[in-house]
Symmetry: C2
Amino acid sequence: MTIVEDATAGRRDRKKRQTRDALVSAALRLVAERGLDQVTVEEISEAADVSARTFFNYFSSKDEALVGDQAGDSERVLAVLATVPPEVPALEAFRLALTPMLEEMQADSALWLLRLKVVAQNPSLLPRLVAGSVETERMTTEALAARTGVGPDHGYPALVTAVTGAAFRVAIIRWSASGGSLPLTELVDEAFAAVAAGLPDPRSAA
Amino acid sequence: MTIVEDATAGRRDRKKRQTRDALVSAALRLVAERGLDQVTVEEISEAADVSARTFFNYFSSKDEALVGDQAGDSERVLAVLATVPPEVPALEAFRLALTPMLEEMQADSALWLLRLKVVAQNPSLLPRLVAGSVETERMTTEALAARTGVGPDHGYPALVTAVTGAAFRVAIIRWSASGGSLPLTELVDEAFAAVAAGLPDPRSAA
DNA sequence: ATAAAAGTTTGCAGCACCTGCAAGTTTCTT
DNA sequence: AAGAAACTTGCAGGTGCTGCAAACTTTTAT
């Protein structure tokens, strides 16, 4: 996936990206076919035509190749968050900060839908997927604390980030369940709106 | 921990509980001292005076001995949830359903605070801790869907359980950070109240 | 162009995690 | 007391993952 062949940088970096993509792709395909523990790292490496040792030069575990590290997301989210004026309510600021990431996911929807399908079929991966964003949560919590100017023992910033993450995850799972037919941003907006309204009983205003 | 020696059942079950407690206790103590990957299953078993093979008769992984399985919690939560009349708003119903579990945690606070400290010091355990409640979330989502009578493609039940879980987790982390000095139920109530109010900016009403 | 430098891949040795199986030991039942 | 049932243990073996050193490839400098 993402075989866009961006001609940036030299041959070395291009090859690295190719190898990485080949490993991710092979891992997802094989696990989708056979299930998580019916696939060995050896087989994945074989399918990507590299040695098993090389696999571990790219990923620290089999799971990581499947769920991705998405470490770079933190910075982008924080960067956008910094541009949102402080008068904007925290929830809305968060929704804006997540938008670029959502758009990228939708652009890579084939990869992401396969990834989410694999996670759905192998529940032990779900915590790993969540874990990937734990560092992002930590950093956004700090940023929010600074933004709102509350004390460090106040629970508000952590609560907002945790709840935001939860709403985000639910939207993504619904997106996956719909096979990508519903626009992701819409699902996220809906979830955020429900949270902002205090999660009222849907029977009151269906 | 929990060395209450309840004289229920026969000697066999008593010994099983003792062995299990000894393993959990040894695991938490050693990992708190040295760190997760500086402790082997062999050493934990040694400290509990059983063979390494026996360790795996009790826990399917090293992590499980540390975070606990808390599989039994699901049923209790669901049972309480079933007794709450349907007119009660979902968030409030959830708060009530979680109360027994909270009280038990506070009763076992020494164990839980150590466990949470170990998790905080070894972030790779966090996913495992979350994994324990993923099944509970799935089941409560179903129960909530039945309770509120919304369609299966509606996001509301999943959103409420996910957000509830997030609020719960934040409260627990604050509890742990306070060293158990703040009452857990109070922290949970505060978090739930904030969610029910739609997470308003705390500057508006500090 | 050539050589040195820097980065990447690979095999190998090795430890730790985890599982199935069969034999031995303890507890329960009658 | 004897047999059934449950628990513990050792052993063999596969897989995950890491460190190290040797080969190889790409980049940089001369």
